[in-house]
Amino acid sequence: MSSPLDHVDQLSVWLKDAGLALLELRGPSATLRLVNDGASVHVVEGKESVSADAPSMTVRAPSPGIFLDRHPLHERAIVLIDANVRADDPLGFLQIGPLVLAVPAPRAGTVTDVLVAHGTIVGYGASLFVLDPLEGETA
């Protein structure tokens, strides 16, 4: 069986055509991450850093959908910049038809940036928030 690493070019084309922001393949010996930033698709080495001493982390879309910064019945964003959040608190939502999914905080911290506007269609893995993890808190 061939390795996905031999097909990066083809995978990159598919990623771009589908408008997906991230492809992540994990195997026992290797991890492949392809990131589509809109202009080009490039390989990112290694695993995404989630170490406790990382200054900030990116919260990505757990599903494709329409990004909502507030619940459909609410008038204000559920999380504002500089807000402190606990692990699993919803930072925003993804709407798929009548379904609404949460974008949960992967860990406690401070939201320092919202990267996508309310109502934007996003792909799986799109960067949505920047979170400064709270010191001493583990995922």
Binding site: H71, L73, I96, L99, V100, P104
Partner: protein, 328 residues
């Protein structure tokens, strides 16, 4: 079990209604907003007809005596589980001993007045004549045939474990809006005595923003607006009527029969709110206005098909989400 700590007033156990008994004089009862009830049951992966608590007057407070998954649908009542905010139209987990408080409805994005507290596997009151709905007129069904009181304990069945917390549905009030000149509307079919009313009454029926008066409840909504007058005085024998029928008594101020309507009446009927739009009326607050939008039989059936399609699509997506290792 769910313990009622603060019942407000007129909170009742309701399912989708007690059908098939009108010929015996048994009214349908059931949720004033059946779409909110069905939506809550879809969120929790319950049967569509599982019973829930209809809460028309807030605040309302309950304690979960054992852990479960619940959803508050209908109006957004700024719910709190202990201190944590509760999202509307969202499946939440409650641990044993946690207290859910519902406050006054927030009506800025959707003008709704009734909340539904739905729990995994439904409120397990005994079915009477095929339904768990509270029949207030006959004092049977639901919880002891009456509105809830402080201290009541409502039985819940041992959870099937199908419900998954952590996701929600877009309320159909946002997905299926209906207005006429900026006023919330409901579609109406002309009824048997429509032609017995004057031309100006016909014009007023379709052009007035009718005010829902404080004399409005689960039995019927009394409206205020211009007087509707028959061409000649009408005397009718009592005949069968259903929720949605718009009667015009002497005085010319219409009454819309609602879920607890008696099954017969003798006032002339100028129109009937279509079944597919009764949920809109069920959510309309007292003091608000409503417009009647004339529709055809085919349009009424089409509206019903739209509702069924919305529910089927919601059910399909919820099952897809929960089936694929959901609950992320």
């Amino acid at each position: 079990m769910i313990k009622v700590l603060s019942a407000g007033a007129l909170a009742t156990v309701q399912d989708l209604g007690r059908t098939g008994g009108l010929n015996l004089g048994v009214g349908v009862s059931g949720a004033m907003d059946p779409l909110a009830l069905a939506g809550g049951n879809i969120l929790l992966r319950n049967e569509e007809n599982a019973a829930a608590i209809e809460v028309p007057i807030l605040p309302f407070k309950v304690r979960f005596e054992r852990s479960t998954v619940f959803a508050v649908t209908g109006a957004d009542c700024a719910g709190r589980l202990d201190e944590a905010p509760v999202l509307p139209w969202w499946a939440h987990r409650a641990e044993a001993g946690q207290v859910l408080t519902l406050s006054l409805p927030n009506q800025t994005t959707w003008r709704a007045s009734r909340a539904y507290l739905c729990v995994a596997d439904g409120i397990d009151v005994p079915a009477v004549l095929g339904s768990r709905s509270t029949q207030l007129r006959g004092s049977f069904g639901g919880h002891e045939g009456r509105p809830l009181r402080d201290g009541d304990g409502l039985p819940t069945v041992s959870s099937s474990g199908r419900a998954v917390p952590g996701f929600g549905l877009v309320p159909p009030g946002l997905a299926l809006p209906l207005e006429a000149d900026g006023t919330p509307g409901v579609r109406v079919l002309p009824a048997a005595e429509y032609d017995c009313f004057t031309k100006s009454s016909h014009d007023a029926l379709w052009s007035t923003a009718w005010k829902i008066t404080p004399q409005s409840d689960r039995y019927g909504y009394r409206l205020a607006g211009p007087e509707l007058n028959p061409l000649r005085p009408l005397e009718l024998r009592s005949h069968g009527i259903v929720p949605g029928v718009i009667q015009v008594p002497h005085g010319g101020q219409p009454i819309i029969q609602m879920r607890d309507a008696q099954p017969s009446g003798g006032y002339p009927k100028i129109g009937t709110v279509i079944e597919a739009d009764l949920w809109r009326l069920g959510q309309a607050p007292i003091g608000s206005n409503v417009r009647f939008i004339r529709c055809s039989w085919d349009e009424a059936l089409g509206a019903w098909a739209d509702i069924r399609r919305w529910l089927a699509n919601a059910r399909r997506l919820v099952e897809l989400h929960c089936g694929e290792g959901g609950g992320r």
